[in-house]
C-alpha cells in the first residue's frame, strides 16, 4: 500500500501547517463528512424527535460494503455505491422496525447498541473486513481498488482546477465533491421538510399520540426518517473511506456520532442550514486549536490534545448558556416544544 502524504497531514503538528492549504482542505473534508452525518441527525432528532445515537453504524456499513464489494468481490466502484447505500438503508429499516416502537430514550439506547454491534462485528469478522488491520487495497490485484478509481477521478478534477490554481491540494477534489453533496442533501431535505411529509414528522416530534389520532401512521414516517438518515450515514461513510484510504473499525466508534451531535447542537436543532455552519465551526475550532502555542512543560503534546477538546467543550457550554437554540435554531420552537 502506498501512503499518500496528504492523508497524514492532520496528524502532523507543525506551525507551518497553519498557513498550509493542504491542512485546511483536509479539515474542510472532515467538516463536510460530519455535516452529512449531522444532516441525518437533524432529520431524525431535530425534525422527527427520534434520538439516533447510531449514525456510526450506517457510516460503517456504507464504507465496509463499498470496500468489500470493490476489493474482495471485484465489483466496480460505481456499482458498489448504490449497493452500499441500499444495504445501509435496509439495515436501518430492519433495526427500526422493532426499536422505533420503543419510547424515545430506549430507542436511543437501542441505536447505540446497534452501532457497537456493527463495529465489533467489523473488528472480529476478519475474513470479511480485515478485522483490526482494516481493509485496504490488494497490491496483487490493483485493478480492484476503490482508491485507484477515485484517484483517477480526483486527478481529472485537479487537472481542471490547475486552470485556476497552479498547485491545488491533493484533497481538493474530495472537498469539492463532499461539499456539493452537502449542498444537494441540504436542498433535498429542506424541500421534504417544507412538504406535507415534513409537517407530519414535526407533528410526531411534538406529540406522537396527537399525530396518530389524526390518522398518521407514525411508525411508517419514523422508519422513513431513519432510512434517509441511514442513506446519509452511508454516503458519509464512503467519503470517510476515500479520505482515509482504508476502512478501519476504529473510525466508527460512538465518538463519531457524538461529534456529529456537537455539530448539530452548534448549528441549532431544527435548521438544515445550521448544520453546515456548525460542522465548519466545530472542526475549525477543534483543529485550529492545534496551533495554540503553550509552554512545554507543563503542556506536553498529549496534554495539549486534551486542552483542545476542553476548549471545544467550553465553546459548546458557552453556546448552551447564551444561545441554547444553537446558531440557527429557533428559540421559540425550543421553548414551546418542552
Amino acid at each position: 500500500m502506498t501512503i499518500d502524504p496528504g492523508a497524514l497531514v492532520p496528524l502532523a503538528v507543525t506551525l507551518e501547517s497553519l498557513t498550509d492549504p493542504d491542512f485546511w482542505v483536509s479539515v474542510g473534508v472532515l467538516a463536510g463528512i460530519y455535516a452529512i452525518v449531522a444532516l441525518g441527525l437533524q432529520l431524525n432528532t431535530g425534525f422527527t424527535g427520534i434520538v439516533n445515537f447510531g449514525m456510526a453504524a450506517f457510516m460503517a456499513i456504507g464504507a465496509y460494503t463499498m470496500a468489500i464489494l470493490v476489493i474482495k468481490a471485484g465489483f466496480s466502484f460505481w456499482l458498489s455505491l448504490p449497493l452500499a447505500v441500499g444495504t445501509s438503508m435496509l439495515f436501518g429499516v430492519l433495526v427500526g422496525l422493532p426499536s422505533l416502537r420503543l419510547r424515545a430514550d430506549y430507542f436511543a439506547i437501542a441505536t447505540i447498541a446497534m452501532a457497537e454491534v456493527v463495529r465489533l462485528f467489523a473488528q472480529n469478522a476478519r475474513e470479511l473486513t480485515g478485522g483490526n488491520q482494516g481493509l485496504f487495497c490488494d497490491l496483487d490485484n490493483p485493478s480492484n481498488c476503490y482508491p485507484d478509481t477515485w484517484n483517477s477521478i480526483s486527478e481529472s478534477i485537479n487537472e481542471f482546477v490547475t486552470n485556476f490554481w497552479s498547485d491545488p491540494p491533493t484533497l481538493l477534489p474530495l472537498l469539492l465533491v463532499i461539499w456539493v453533496t452537502v449542498g444537494l442533501a441540504t436542498l433535498a431535505l429542506t424541500y421534504l421538510q417544507r412538504a406535507p411529509w415534513g409537517r407530519v414528522l414535526r407533528a410526531i416530534r411534538e406529540d406522537e399520540d396527537a399525530a396518530q389520532a389524526l390518522g398518521k401512521n407514525t411508525l411508517a414516517f419514523k422508519l422513513q426518517s431513519l432510512a434517509i438518515a441511514a442513506v446519509l450515514g452511508s454516503i458519509a461513510g464512503f467519503f470517510l473511506a476515500l479520505d482515509l484510504r482504508t476502512v478501519h473499525p476504529l473510525d466508527f466508534e460512538p465518538l463519531v456520532t457524538f461529534f456529529a451531535f456537537s455539530v448539530l447542537i452548534l448549528g441549532g436543532m431544527g435548521s438544515y442550514r445550521g448544520v453546515a455552519v456548525g460542522a465548519v465551526l466545530f472542526w475549525f475550532v477543534l483543529e485550529g486549536t492545534r496551533f495554540i502555542d503553550l509552554p512545554d512543560p507543563p503542556f506536553t503534546e498529549t496534554r495539549i490534545a486534551s486542552v483542545r477538546l476542553a476548549i471545544t467543550g467550553l465553546l459548546l457550554i458557552g453556546l448552551m448558556a447564551f444561545r441554547p437554540q444553537g446558531l440557527f435554531g429557533k428559540r421559540q420552537e425550543m421553548v414551546l416544544g418542552e
Binding site: P196, W197, R202, E206, D207, L214, G215, Q224, E333
Partner: protein
C-alpha cells in the same frame, strides 16, 4: 351516509368491552350504542372508565374482550391511525396542541388524502401535493374563521390560551373529516363565554355537517340541556342510557353518580370541573 340512523342501527356499537390494568377492571363489560347524527353525553363519576373507554375505542389501548363496530365494521384491534382514517376522530382531555408548530400547520396536518405525505409523490408528482395543499389551506382558514382563530393562524399553537387550544383541537379534529367525534371533556378549564361558543359549534356541526358527537362531560347543566342522549358509566359499566330526562330520573344514576358527588363534597373534595 346517515342511512344507518334511519335503519335504527348505531354508528358506533360497543359490546361487552373489558379493559384491565393488572387486577383493576377499568372498563368492565361496557355496552352502548351511539346513534348517527346525535349528540351523546358520556357521564359518570371519576374513575368510571370513561377516558379508558375512549382509549379503547380509538385504538390507543388494546381491550381484553368485547367488540366495537363502527360504521358497520369491526374495528377492535386496529391501530389508532387506521381508526381515525375510518372517521372516528378524538380529542384529548389534556389538549394536545402541537406547540412548536403554527396554528395553520396544526390544522393542515389533519387533512386526509394528502399525496404530499408520501415521499414517492413528492419526487414524481409534486404538483399534486401543491394542489391539495391549496385546497387544504382554504378549508383550514374557513374553519379557523368559524372558530374565531383567523388572527392566530400564523402563531405557534403553544402561545394560545387554554380555551383557544380547546377550540383549535376541535377545529383540527374537524379537518380530519370525522363521521364521529369523541371529545374528552371539551369544556373543562375554559371560561363560560367559550363554553357557550363550543356548545354552539357542536350543534352547528351536527346540523350542518352531520357529524355525530360523543363527549365526556361533568357539568350537569351542559349535559342536560345540550345532548340528545346520555350514557352513564360507573365502575367500568354502563348503568343507564337514554334521553336526558329519563336518565335524570333514573334511581341507579342518582345512587351511583349524584350520590357519589354528594359523598365527595361531603368529605370536602370537589370533583374536578
Amino acid at each position: 351516509m346517515n342511512d344507518q340512523a334511519t335503519n335504527g342501527r348505531g354508528l358506533l356499537e360497543v359490546e361487552d368491552v373489558v379493559k384491565r390494568f393488572g387486577g383493576i377492571r377499568a372498563v368492565d363489560g361496557a355496552t352502548m350504542r351511539i346513534g348517527a347524527g346525535r349528540i351523546t353525553a358520556l357521564i359518570g363519576p371519576n374513575g368510571a372508565g370513561k377516558t379508558t373507554l375512549f382509549n379503547v375505542l380509538t385504538g390507543f389501548y388494546r381491550s381484553d374482550r368485547g367488540s366495537v363496530t363502527f360504521d358497520g365494521r369491526q374495528i377492535l384491534g386496529e391501530s389508532p391511525h387506521a381508526i381515525a382514517r375510518r372517521g372516528m376522530v378524538r380529542t384529548f382531555q389534556i389538549t394536545k396542541a402541537l406547540a412548536a408548530m403554527p396554528v395553520i400547520d396544526n390544522m393542515m396536518l389533519a387533512a386526509p388524502e394528502q399525496p404530499g405525505e408520501r415521499l414517492r409523490n413528492l419526487v414524481l408528482r409534486p404538483g399534486a401535493a401543491r394542489a391539495r395543499e391549496r385546497e387544504v389551506r382554504e378549508q383550514a382558514m374557513e374553519l379557523l374563521g368559524i372558530f374565531n382563530l383567523t388572527d392566530l393562524a400564523e402563531a405557534y399553537a403553544g402561545t394560545l390560551s387554554g380555551g383557544q387550544r380547546k377550540l383549535l383541537e376541535l377545529a383540527r379534529a374537524l379537518m380530519a373529516q370525522p363521521k364521529l367525534l369523541l371529545l374528552d371533556e371539551p369544556m373543562a378549564g375554559i371560561n363560560p363565554t367559550l363554553v357557550a361558543r363550543l356548545l354552539d359549534h357542536m350543534q352547528m356541526l351536527r346540523r350542518d355537517r352531520g357529524v355525530t358527537i360523543l363527549f365526556i362531560e361533568h357539568d350537569m347543566e351542559v349535559v342536560m340541556n345540550h345532548s340528545d342522549r346520555v350514557v352513564v358509566m360507573a365502575e367500568g359499566r354502563v348503568i343507564a342510557e337514554g334521553e336526558p330526562d329519563e336518565v335524570r330520573a333514573d334511581r341507579r344514576v342518582i345512587d351511583a353518580y349524584l350520590g357519589e358527588v354528594a359523598a365527595d363534597t361531603a368529605v370536602g373534595e370537589k370533583p374536578p370541573a
